[in-house]
């Protein structure tokens, strides 16, 4: 106990890489098998980003007792905001 | 003997208005439609009546596609639902008819046939939608097509249409024509108990046991209204007994075969005809809709002239009542099929005939009804 546990269901994961790309603590990486895997579990602060952003319901974070830092709303201004990859206006 | 019968309410109604009386007598509580001549009176009459019917709901949709969609939705929610249209609107509805057949959603669609293709002759009669009623929606699917010839029959056949829809979980198309729809005649207004009324079978098993498209004795699975605790999936994709899409050949075959079988097994119930002096007939007229009325007079006149003529009035067009038509064809020297098209139902008669007897067609497509004398000329 104490630490957050992070689980990826390999059967449901399609390896899109969203969790790996956006996790603020770099907990995930996409492996050679094309699936996400947990590489840095101890860094997890249970911010709540990865679960609702996994399109395949394949990530599970079981919170421990420490390190709870909810992530800010996605719409909060990001000082390190990158310019748009491509400007496409729907 | 019995107590004097209470005087029944009578009304002098259009065929279209009689359809509404029949629908309400059958328990219809939902109408969605889009006005189109010559079916519009059905919609107008529903708009007037449904607000006063318990739980009645009426909605004018933006087009015929939407009307069918709303009717399907209401039926899924447990209502006896109906729409009415005419030629061009009927064409627009075809995709949704196929959806209703595939999802086995009961509904009644009244198509008041007018003349011609496309916009054609909006205020003239025609019978050009007969084959479309059977084959209009793509893909193999069973369907029930009925017709009515006079105003009292509009009541009766609308009730029958609802009963078949509910009993067999199928869309039922009632084909009228402009003459039948726009003729006024006296009817006795239906009262509760006048007609045997069927409602769909609903499941009694616990929800977790329920399979929405399961094989049953009759081939017709029970159908709960949406929101009653049975949660299931409805889809126009070919589906397995649980309702989920499938492409496994054995499941695909099982579904389609059951859908056909649920109708095929009950031909005796579904195929309604009326025999008029066919017992000894050497000339048989086979007719439906307003033309059947002309044929009735023609046959009477032919009998008076010494010709042994008979008439078979088809009230069910599909499944085609072969079991009634075939014996007549085997025993007559001439069969005459008058219709207000270039020969649509006569194809079925010729198919069943298999060369046994002469089949003569009378085809009229000028927006006028086939007259008794026109038929008489062919049979006497």
């Amino acid at each position: 106990m104490g630490r957050n546990r992070v689980v990826v269901y390999p059967d449901w994961c399609k390896g899109c890489g969203i969790c790996a790309a956006f996790c603020p603590k770099k907990v995930f990486a996409v492996g050679q098998d094309g699936k996400a895997r947990v590489v840095n579990e101890e860094a997890c602060v249970n911010c709540g980003f990865c679960e609702p952003h996994c399109p395949d319901f394949a990530v599970l974070v079981i919170p421990g007792e420490t390190d709870q830092t909810p992530c800010p709303p996605e719409t909060a201004p990001d000082p390190a905001e990158q310019p748009a990859a491509k400007e496409v206006k729907p | 003997m019995t107590a004097p019968r209470k005087k029944r309410r009578e009304a002098f109604l259009l065929g279209n208005e009689a359809v509404v009386e029949g629908a309400l007598a059958a328990g219809c509580t939902f109408y969605a439609g889009y006005p189109i001549t010559p079916s519009t009176e059905i919609m107008e009459c529903m708009a007037k009546r449904l607000p006063h019917v318990p739980d009645g709901a009426f909605i004018q949709m933006e087009d015929e596609i939407a009307s069918m969609g709303a009717v399907i939705g209401a039926s899924l929610a447990g209502r006896k639902a109906m729409t009415a249209t005419s030629g061009p609107g009927f064409s627009l509805m075809q995709e949704q008819i196929g959806y209703a057949a595939m999802t086995e959603t009961p509904l009644v669609l009244v198509n008041v046939m007018r003349g011609g293709a496309s916009t054609g002759l909006p205020t003239s009669p025609g019978q050009g939608d007969v084959q479309q009623a059977r084959w209009g929606a793509h893909g193999d699917h069973p369907i029930i097509v009925l017709s009515a010839a006079d105003v009292p029959e509009c009541v009766e056949m609308t009730v029958t249409a609802f009963n078949f829809a509910e009993k067999y979980r199928s869309p039922v198309i009632l084909l009228l024509d402009e003459i039948t729809a726009h003729t006024r005649e006296k009817i006795e207004l239906p009262e509760p108990g006048d007609f045997e009324v069927f409602s769909r079978l609903t499941p009694t098993m616990p929800p977790e046991w329920y399979k929405p498209y399961e094989e049953t004795m009759r081939g017709v699975p029970p159908m709960p209204p949406i929101g009653s605790g049975y949660r299931f999936h409805v889809t126009g994709l070919t589906h397995d007994p649980l309702g989920f899409p499938t492409s496994r050949p054995e499941e695909v075959r099982a579904l389609t075969e059951r859908q056909f079988r649920k109708i095929d097994r009950f031909f005796e119930d579904i195929q309604i005809v009326e025999h008029v002096e066919t017992a000894d007939a050497e000339v048989v007229v086979i007719a439906y809709g307003c033309v059947a009325r002309s044929a009735r007079l023609a046959v009477k006149q032919a009998r008076e002239a010494g010709v042994r003529a008979g008439l078979l009035v088809l009230k069910t067009l599909y499944p085609f009542p072969r079991r009634h038509v075939e014996p007549l064809l085997r025993n007559c020297r001439l069969a005459v099929v008058p219709e207000l098209n270039m020969g649509q139902l006569s194809r079925e008669v010729k198919r069943v005939n298999e060369g046994y007897t002469t089949v003569r067609t009378i085809n009229r497509i000028d927006g006028q009804i086939i007259t008794p004398s026109q038929i008489l000329k062919e049979i006497a």
């Binding site: 059967d11 449901w12 399609k14 899109c16 890489g17 969203i18 790309a21 956006f22 249970n46 709540g48 679960e51 609702p52 996994c54 399109p55 319901f57 394949a58 599970l60 974070v61 919170p63 709303p73 996605e74 719409t75 201004p77 748009a84 990859a85 491509k86 400007e87 496409v88 729907p90 | 939902f30 969605a32 607000p51 006063h52 709901a57 909605i59 087009d63 939407a66 969609g69 709303a70 939705g73 209401a74 039926s75 899924l76 929610a77 447990g78 639902a81 995709e95 949704q96 959806y99 209204p225 949406i226 929101g227 949660r231 299931f232 999936h233 409805v234 889809t235 126009g236 994709l237 989920f244």
Partner: protein, 278 residues
């Protein structure tokens, strides 16, 4: 936060094949999650929720969730939803559609559903493309973007969904994205609970059919694009240069009774009049 995934599992139909049929990185699964969370947050029983879906990738969502689900024909979800709502106003009816469904083939139904203000929530998954048929342009494909049916670049302009539905008379119009999930949850919950016709446009990237052909290197990059270009409408309106930016949030909030309610009121008034006269 394990409860998020666990909650979704409570609403999934486990007799369906998983994982979801969608491509890797497709946002549709995220919208599905958002839908489940907002329904759950509102405390609606599964039996009272009806999901009516159209055709296309978005249409497949219906089969996965344990509500009453109806997968209809292409573009007609709103018509069936209208029938269900009129027949049983107690049900919560949510029409899940794609951009092709809602704005192209079903565009007429959309504006009329908004005009008559039927009490249905329209959840439109906008990925700017016909995904399931292999990447043809839709009525939301941005001008200049590429697809199999506009290989030289789209010449037509895209619908402005917000203005379209606002003008048609919707009670509520909002836009969210699958990157801004918490906001999407809130927008959906708000839309479902507001009477009348409410439209929620969820921007959800399609990397396979849209992204690849339009200069995105991965699905992740599309999410980054959403992150970078979408901002709350309040902030968007203060911007001097709005190039490449998109507002999200709620654009229309109207307090108008749904058609089903107005119908019920009319019936009640009729009955009262009749009862009074008798």
């Amino acid at each position: 936060m394990a409860e998020i995934t666990q909650l979704i599992h409570q609403y999934l139909r486990h007799n369906k094949k998983f994982p979801l049929v969608f491509c890797p990185g497709c946002g549709h699964g995220i919208v599905l999650g958002s839908l489940v969370r907002s329904v759950h947050a509102l405390g609606l029983p599964k039996d009272d929720v009806v999901i009516v879906a159209g055709i296309g990738c978005s249409g497949r969502i219906a089969a996965y969730v344990d509500f009453n689900t109806v997968h209809t024909t292409h573009g007609r979800a709103l018509t069936v939803a209208t029938g269900i709502k009129m027949a049983n106003p107690k049900l919560t009816v949510i029409a899940v559609m794609g951009d092709g469904d809602a704005f192209s083939i079903g565009g007429n139904h959309l504006i009329h559903a908004a005009r008559r203000n039927i009490g249905v929530t329209a959840l439109v998954l906008n990925n700017f493309i016909y995904g399931m048929t292999g990447g043809q342009c839709s009525s939301t494909t941005p001008e200049g973007a590429y697809s199999h049916t506009c290989p030289q670049g789209q010449l037509e302009s895209a619908f402005d969904i917000v203005e379209l539905t606002r003008a048609a008379g919707a009670a509520g119009v909002s836009r969210g994205t699958v990157y801004h999930v918490k906001e999407l949850d809130a927008l959906l919950a708000e839309a479902i609970s507001r009477p009348g016709f409410n439209l929620v446009e969820a921007l959800t990237p399609c990397f396979t059919q849209y992204g690849r052909g339009n200069g995105f290197k991965s699905a992740v990059e599309m999410f980054k694009w959403l992150k970078a270009s979408c901002l709350p409408v309040e902030r968007y309106e203060k911007l001097e240069d709005r190039t490449g930016k998109l507002p999200i949030g709620t654009f229309v909030r109207r307090d108008v009774a749904g058609l089903e309610t107005r119908w019920a009121n009319m019936r009640q008034a009729l009955a009262a009049k009749k009862g009074g006269a008798a």
